[in-house]
Amino acid sequence: MSDLERLDRFLHTDPRDVGCDEAMAVLHIYVDLMAAGEDAAGRYPGVAAHLAACGPCDENFTGLLQAVTGG
């Protein structure tokens, strides 16, 4: 990936991104869908877009997923 592409990716904003509050409000539902092998990102595309862009919320997602799967 070139520097320009890396910068472009960093600055890119997804209009579907629901933001921290909405993503964290349904995180338990999203994680249960993931843990059950269902299409969580398809059901909640705005949450998936947010988790892809927000490191701290993605950390919470990873932590909760590990907590429920024991992984």
């Binding site: 520097d3 890396r6 910068l7 964290m24 907590a67």
Partner: protein, 211 residues
């Protein structure tokens, strides 16, 4: 939602947590012990990215479990069965751990608020140090947009998060703002910077951005 709509384990938790004193207290002790276990695992998972260590890290976990327990019992009536009960409960403790570690950042911060470490910008943006000469114009334009086109509030937050690398939770704690509010400011700033770079021919507009 009725108890019949729930999975067996979730229904059991709700039944026991709503039972008469003896059964309820036993269920609360069991839930609290589970929250402590999850909190300890979570602080250890995050230990590489926090200055908190050792026994203090365990203390953070116990405080997070205690506060999560209080919140869970207070909000038991809000559980709508959209997930398993235990997943809903774990969410509280994971968010508490995240928030508490954010608060601890300021006791021994590696960088002060408003430090403005602009020399680190290329690294923050993932730009190869060996190619700084080639990207100097681009970086100068990014900095110009940050300094001239962002609002003072956007500039302060974007600089703290992106240039100085202050964790979002820590900045939220320092400024007394919600994490979501900080994220929204950086989201808007990223979009504004990108639009300026597109307008000035540095980047191309893409389909998704036009939506």
């Amino acid at each position: 939602m009725t108890a019949e709509d729930l999975d067996e384990e979730s229904a059991s938790w709700l039944r026991r947590l709503g039972a008469a004193e003896g059964k309820r207290l036993a269920a609360e002790r069991e839930l609290h012990a589970t929250l402590v276990r999850i909190a300890l695992a979570e602080v250890r998972r995050r230990s590489a990215s926090t200055p908190v260590t050792g026994r203090e890290l365990d203390d953070v976990a116990h405080q997070a479990a205690d506060d999560a327990m209080v919140a869970i019992l207070a909000k038991l009536g809000d559980f709508r069965g959209e997930s398993r009960f235990i997943t809903w409960a774990y969410r509280f403790v994971i968010l508490e751990v995240s928030s508490k570690l954010g608060r601890h950042y300021w006791r021994n911060p590696p960088v002060a608020l408003d430090a403005g470490q602009w020399e680190r910008l290329p690294d923050r943006l993932g730009i190869d140090p060996a190619r700084h000469a080639e990207t100097a114009g681009l970086l100068a334009e990014v900095r110009r947009v940050i300094e001239e086109e962002l609002t003072a509030h956007q500039r302060r937050i974007f600089t703290a998060i992106v240039v100085d690398g202050i964790p979002l939770d820590a900045l939220a704690e320092k400024l007394g703002l919600q994490r979501g509010a900080i994220y929204k400011v950086t989201f808007d700033a990223r979009r504004k910077i990108r639009r300026a770079l597109v307008a000035n021919g540095y980047l191309e507009e893409t389909g998704l951005e036009r939506q």
